[in-house]
Subunit: 247 residues, 2 copies
């Protein structure tokens, strides 16, 4: 009998924003896989869980993110960069194998993920691999508080009322950003740190600077909220920075 | 000293999807305001809370939704309809007054809301009114698991990976739906029951029927998931029905 795989959103950072269900299932399960981020040295998701659940005696599998983007742009990569990407991808495969072994022993496995598992979670790369290995695998996704909702709540703004429309975009997508700003009532830009200067230019041009708020590391201990975005410097912005434009 | 107003998302329906923070603050606070829906006879949010927190001895304020849309379309409304709208709006004002009184007595007040307070929560109508009455009012929004994330999790689909874009729309917005389906990787249509036939027609025309899943009352006891949307009948769909189109 194959074990069940629980993919659990542990919320954006504040351990109190974990759900009762997340806490219960993590307590009841021996095997926990925690992804380790590329940008952060430790597993943030595991640090959150560790403040609420006693992890002593758990069987912890350290997960590594695959370098999906690097691989996709593949041909342009040479030397050390490509070596690092390969190394990370093979570590990711080891993560899948480690989970697979536990499942085959009939053990349930919990995969924890920051925020909510359905929004920009790396779990889904692993999903394909695991389902290929175990076609009958039972996967249960346990939703969590996403960083999108947490950022809006911390900034004290509503994302949508009544007939309003929300767009959620990774900020590296600058293609038709002007049009999206025009058509949508709320636009949420994720990981805005990498493209801040370009986005700020567009906001200024469209008269949207006053309608914007930037939340860095929402609900984490070192959260920052910028109601005046004019003073933001791109290189000072954190990886977990979200821009909310509310017209 | 004015009390603090906590606006708390209690998640989509499953009481276990409440956050630890929601449970703690509701336990600690005497005054609870629970909105009563138009479509449902009882307060769903209160029913969820009641399964986790002992409500004995709490000071419960029953909140009523304002009829914003009816009022906006105002001039077209005659007779009994307009009367009902006025009545509901005056009840809504009474809700604001009841909360205001408690705050003025220095008591904290909890306003509970289904899902997450920043996504289509009626609280924000009340917010304006309360801030007008108490300019220095401290409002704390406590994020919750939104029905958007819960629907995707229950259906077992990812809303976005890597560079993908999500659009969240109330389904009565049919304007440029074709274009939004074309431009976004995931489209989430809220309250799709009222316009099902029209939406289905567009999905069929665009070859998106196979890419769609409809979740009714996600994470509630009587949840239904339609992986095959061909057999859905508009008049059988629940008010809390969400369509996810994932390309």
């Amino acid at each position: 009998m194959l074990g069940t795989l629980y993919v659990i959103g542990v919320g954006p950072g504040d351990p109190e924003l974990m759900t009762l269900k997340a806490v219960r299932i993590i307590k009841e399960t021996e095997v926990i896989c925690a992804p380790k981020g590329r940008e952060e040295g430790v597993s943030l998701a595991m640090a959150i869980v560790g403040k609420v659940v006693d992890l002593q005696g758990k069987d912890i599998i350290e997960g590594h993110f695959p370098m999906m983007k690097t691989k996709r742009q593949g041909s342009g990569i040479r030397g050390q960069g490509a070596g690092q990407a390969d190394e990370l991808d093979s570590k990711w495969k080891l993560t899948g194998t480690a989970i697979s072994e536990r499942l085959q022993q009939g053990k349930d496995v919990v995969f924890i993920t920051l925020g909510d598992p359905t929004i920009y979670s790396t779990f889904f790369y692993l999903h394909e691999r695991l389902v290929a290995l175990h076609p009958g695998l039972q996967v249960q996704l346990i939703p969590g508080v996403s960083s999108v909702n947490a950022s809006a709540a911390r900034a004290g703004v509503s994302l949508a009322l009544a007939d309003e429309k929300i767009a959620i975009l990774p900020a590296n997508y600058l293609g038709d950003l002007r049009e999206i700003f025009t058509r949508f009532d709320s636009v949420v830009l994720m990981k805005v740190n990498k493209v801040w200067d370009k986005v700020y230019e567009i906001l200024k041009e469209m008269g949207l600077v006053e309608k914007s708020v930037c939340v860095s590391r929402a609900a984490m201990e070192d959260e920052e909220i910028f109601y005046d975005i004019n003073n933001i410097k791109q290189d000072e912005l954190n990886y977990f920075s979200i821009l909310i434009v509310r017209k």
